[in-house]
Symmetry: C2
Subunit: 309 residues, 2 copies
């Protein structure tokens, strides 16, 4: 414990919220460390970002590279490591990583984002990476001239379908409701694409295949059959806040498991702030620009908190 | 009245908040108009923006051009005109501009920003444009090899001083308190600049000069005199929300005259939303990224509001 370094702030998560928190923390000269499993967060999975003001169209990966360069240019230390434990240590907080590194910090900004929601159907786990995917941007390229389906009706689902048509020969969107809930601009794009077909009011019951996905089972008939032959499914049914590590801290969450924050991005635990998709902040809009704004506010609150200590 | 066009949404103000609201409104296919006196808002006055995530360093003008191009690429109609009246018209809202154009709209996003606070001292009004300025970025170039002073101690004041040293031969910062309240990074920069001198705990009582500013009168001696000879003063003592036009709507404000909004950027008046520096939102941090985030949330709320109508 004597060799642990005591930081003023550790930011957990290196997505849009965490990196912006770092940019602001550097400007406030708050000595800090950014710890994240993957630098870039969920935005990395975005094929195209067209709603971050100032960039008409940019890939999620490129935008997050810019955030990262921005943070680094101001002196940020970003470590890629998985955190296995966060706990209170007297007045401070202790963090342990999967490489058994230990850190201590006076304050925390939790910016861990969300985890993908699963279908929880037979075959989903077994065929993961063999036809079952949670990231069209990452895996679309493996489905050249194949038939695939996106499960879900959100913006992310519509975006995934648009990414997939660039490679696959046929893309289904299978959605349990009667109407997509994506932005109208996105709905237009998928509805007018001749390679995309939308199957409404339908759930997927099972993913089947020997060594790779061969077909899925639907809960109602589509063109005379409950079975649909395809090569890949992309699950896009939302995500849940990544709060498993933060429970020990006693941080309050709402009924959707989002960390409760006030307008200063403060949680109920003194010294612990949160920003981005893991929080209840900003009308739960979950955009890059809202995550960034929350990161800026959280870093400002940390600066104020440390000043008054 | 019959010739007035009825919009779904009119966004008043074309700064970071208003333009982002437009970007999001376009993506939601909400038929809207942006009305603003100057496109770009307060950000235009920023010599350098180094805290908008994704751009390490960019002039305020260039960044706002990017916002504007982004909004226009999605089909935004932006009209440069001054609004002289906003009022309720039955269920809708009516707007009159200085060119006597009239518009009607179902919803409003108020993104009018703030107005500069004045010193209210003798000579300030008379010498405006003749040595008294509220915008270092706009006017610094006219003070080549001159002596100038910035009045104030905020980030904006520090930034103005840094802009001015690039032209002037000597820059004073005159501040009523004992310590600048700018970000530490900014404080360092002005303190270490040999051409900048900070006069603490001092107020300016008067601006004097015949046809142009010649000297100012301080409320305590500096180097043996209450008079300080200089060619220009730049007033940077903050700003107040530009709410004069919005009073008629019955929109509630807080004790600092900021429009009160909830987490959805909704005001107390149905159909009226607000975003950016004019609001009480996001811990009053007043950053480009927070204004943009609020614009995104406000447009989303308008979209939801119109859907349920």
């Amino acid at each position: 414990m004597k060799n642990e370094k005591l930081y003023d702030l550790i930011i957990i998560g290196a997505g849009a919220a965490g990196l912006t928190a770092s940019i602001y923390a550097s400007r406030y000269k708050v000595r800090h460390l950014v710890l994240g499993k993957v630098s870039g967060g969920l935005t990395l999975e975005a094929h195209k970002v067209e709603n971050y003001p100032g960039y008409k169209s940019i890939s999620g990966m490129e935008l997050m590279q810019k955030f990262q360069e921005h943070a680094k240019s101001l002196g940020a230390k970003i470590e890629q490591d998985e955190i296995v434990n966060i706990e209170r240590k007297n007045k401070d907080f202790g963090i342990t990583t999967s490489q058994d590194k230990k850190y201590q910090t006076k304050t925390l900004i939790l910016a861990l984002g969300t985890k993908r929601r699963k279908l929880n159907i037979p075959g989903e786990k077994e065929l993961l990476g063999k036809g079952v995917s949670y990231c069209a941007v990452c895996d679309a390229i493996f489905y050249k001239d194949k038939i695939v389906a996106v499960i879900g009706g959100s913006n992310a689902a519509a975006m995934s379908a648009l990414v997939l048509v660039e490679h696959a020969k046929q893309v289904y969107i299978i959605y349990r409701r009667e109407k997509l809930r994506a932005e109208p601009v996105m709905v237009d794009k998928v509805e007018t694409n001749p390679k995309i077909e939308i199957i409404y009011s339908t759930n997927v019951l099972e993913a089947k295949g020997k060594n790779k996905l061969e077909e899925i089972v639907l809960d109602r008939e589509y063109k005379g059959s409950k079975k649909l032959k395809l090569d890949g499914i992309f699950v896009e049914i939302g995500s849940t806040p990544a709060i498993s590590l933060t429970r020990k801290l006693g941080v309050e969450v709402d009924q959707e498991n989002c960390i409760k924050v006030d307008t200063y991005q403060a949680t109920n635990v003194p010294g612990v702030f949160a920003a981005g998709d893991i929080t209840s902040g900003l009308a739960k809009l979950r955009q890059i620009v809202t995550a960034a704004a929350e990161g800026a506010v959280a870093a400002t609150s940390v600066y104020e908190y440390l000043k008054t200590k």
